[in-house]
């Protein structure tokens, strides 16, 4: 028995050979499910990014450039739906959560491995339905990713199927959430107390709560939209006495918390990276851990800040603005504590840390612009302008996206057992960083000058900044290609990575790279906190 176990342990989860593709798409191994997510999520990111590039290209000159207005409208709708529901929401839990959570808490797998696989299948079905929506019915939806009623009830495009696709993706997200909460409660290694959990686990745990508590609301909202379109029950339709603002409430009750589904895991990633490369413990572990819960909690009562000019009540506006400002505080705590963790440290400037720095820079700009938008009277001017577009690309891409890239560079050696070229990765980061700011910073200025979003065409005064932004998108594209190229090259040609290349202290580094199917030979004993580097300085 012992020798047999020893033998399987030499075989990594990647190499375990038992029958081609079906050993992947029907695998219940959390690490394989994570790779399934990685491949599907990145493919869809590629598609969404290409659409973004096309949109930019259309705006290179005034008037029609390369497409008709209806095409442009479908483009930003599909871009938004892909980036939100098919890329950034599933990316962090699906890839990082699945791969790391059991490893980090010293478990063999998640609590419900088969459910886990099922949630990937739901993801796949949702993606297929979304793709089908482009070619059936009245063609690709043109409502914006927000599906605002009553336009979404009237348009002839295939909103019904797109909405159903999002519903199925919601199911996938819920199953992941249920799995992770149960896993954190039930599968921790015996000596893994709550306050020894890595901060990424805290972040994923909080995320999972949002996933299960908020997602059902969008589920029922989308069912209502379908019922409206199919049977005309009238709830959101002013012509029948319904209220379109009610739709907005329901949509944002989910979709604001959803932005924290996107960002929380990335905040967790950064909380892992900082101490490892500062070679010292994190400053204020408890504050960082509990602030994740606080973001999840307060984040569920601020949704109305998307509706300041929707025509809802003045009272509601004031209350929602107030809570919106409160929710910035837990984020602030995290940023302060990261910076404080560099004090009296011993900084190793490795690639993951550089990506983490970029994250802090971009997320702070994004977060601060969120505060500007949260201020009532300022929002009246800036709502639905390019300022908002800039804000959410900074937080979603500069924040959540760069956090994901940082995570890829941090855990790449663990996931694939290969090392990438740090120099190339750093060069890619430089391109990404410059490109990103050139691409999105001009949008702040456009917005301040009143350029509305979702505009196929624009007035002459906006032209120059649009051009800067478009050139930025090309620099950015070059950076992305270089970054992914470097990683893909390393996947096949990179040198072998050791078990613990960064000399980190969390459990996932205590097993081989890549980890064996069983994760650990014996369930590890946890003798110290996650950021105790005393023995491995």
């Amino acid at each position: 028995m012992a020798s047999e176990a020893g033998e399987t342990l030499n075989i990594s989860y990647l190499e375990k050979r038992d029958g081609g593709i079906s050993s992947w798409v029907f695998s219940t191994d959390h690490k394989r499910v994570a790779i399934l997510y990685l491949v599907s999520v990145l493919s869809l990111f590629g598609v969404g990014a290409l659409l973004g590039l096309l949109m930019r290209l259309e705006l290179i000159s005034m008037g029609p450039t390369i497409m008709a207005p209806a095409t442009y409208n479908s483009l930003f709708t599909v871009h938004g739906v892909i980036m939100i529901f098919l890329f950034i929401i599933p990316a962090a839990p699906g890839v990082l959560g699945n791969f790391l959570l059991p490893l980090m808490i010293g478990a063999k797998d998640v609590s419900f491995p088969r459910l886990n696989l099922l949630s990937w299948w739901f993801y796949l079905i949702g993606a297929c339905l979304a793709a089908a929506a482009l070619f059936t019915g009245g063609g690709p939806p043109d409502t914006g990713w927000t599906f605002y009623a009553p336009y979404s009830l009237r348009t002839g495009t295939n909103v019904t199927m797109a909405v159903f696709a999002v519903f199925v993706l919601g199911l996938s997200s819920i199953l992941t959430g249920i799995n992770f909460i149960t896993t954190v409660h039930r599968e921790r290694a015996p000596s893994m107390g709550w306050l020894r959990l890595p901060l990424f686990v805290w972040a994923i745990y909080s995320t999972a709560w949002i996933q299960i508590l908020a997602t059902p609301i969008i589920g029922v909202t989308l069912l209502l939209v379908m019922a409206e379109r199919l049977f005309g029950i009238g709830i959101f339709d002013p012509a029948m006495g319904g209220d379109p603002i009610l739709y907005q409430h329901l949509f944002w009750i989910y979709s604001h918390p959803a932005v924290y589904i996107m960002i929380l895991p990335s905040l967790g990633v950064i909380s892992e990276i900082f101490p490892v490369f500062a070679r010292r413990t994190i400053f204020g572990y408890k504050a960082v851990a509990y602030s994740s819960i606080a973001i999840a909690g307060v984040g569920s009562i601020v949704w109305g800040h998307h509706m300041f000019v929707s025509g809802y009540s003045y009272t509601a506006g004031v209350i929602f603005s107030f809570f919106t400002f409160l929710v910035a505080i837990p984020s602030a705590i995290k940023v302060y504590n990261w910076v404080a963790s560099l004090y009296k440290s011993s900084v190793v400037l490795a690639t993951p840390l550089l990506y983490a720095f970029a994250f802090v820079f971009l997320f702070a700009i994004g977060g601060f612009s969120g505060l500007v938008l949260g201020a009532l009277s300022v929002n009246v001017h800036l709502h639905d302008t390019y300022f908002v577009v800039a804000h959410f690309h900074y937080v979603m891409f500069g924040g959540a996206g760069f956090g994901f890239f940082a995570a890829l560079h941090f855990w790449f050696p663990k996931m694939f057992g290969k090392m990438y070229r740090e120099k190339t990765a750093n060069a890619a980061l430089a391109l990404l960083f410059v490109g990103f700011n050139a691409l999105y910073f001009p949008m702040f200025i456009l917005g301040m000058n009143g350029m509305p979003r979702r505009y196929y065409d624009y007035l002459p005064q906006f032209a120059s900044w649009q051009i800067v932004s478009i050139v930025g998108s090309w620099i950015f594209a070059a950076g992305l290609l270089l970054m992914f190229g470097n990683l893909i090259y390393a996947l096949f040609r990179g040198p072998r990575a050791p078990a613990n290349p960064w000399r980190a202290a969390t459990l996932e580094w205590q097993t081989a790279s890549p980890p064996p199917t069983e994760n650990f030979a014996v369930i590890p004993a946890v003798e110290h906190g996650p950021y105790d580097f005393k023995d491995i300085r």
Partner: protein, 97 residues
């Protein structure tokens, strides 16, 4: 710590029967209250009764009475969040000018 592993403690059959009887009784009560004209806050009474009935089901049929803190916390958490959301939505409808 958070709920014992293994099967939970046995619920006596008479507890089930008593809960059932209470639920039936409350159903008739709520119909009576709902159709009688009590005025004032009467509109809320059926919901108070519904909450009591739900608690009975949760506590005995669903065994929460015998569970650890974590599972008992869940419905409480749900109620708090739901109340907050409803309050915020009402802060809109009730004050539309």
């Amino acid at each position: 710590m958070e709920g014992k592993n293994g099967p939970i403690r046995e619920t006596r059959i008479y507890v089930y029967l008593a809960s059932w009887a209470a639920l039936v009784g409350l159903t008739f009560l709520t119909v009576w209250v709902g159709t009688a004209d009590l005025g004032g806050v009467a509109g809320l009474v059926p919901f108070v009764i519904a909450a009591i009935k739900a608690l009975l089901v949760l506590a005995f049929f669903m065994h929460l009475w015998y569970e650890g803190w974590l599972l008992r916390l869940l419905p409480a958490l749900a109620v708090v969040i739901m109340a907050a959301i409803v309050a915020l939505v009402i802060s809109d409808v009730a004050y539309r000018g």
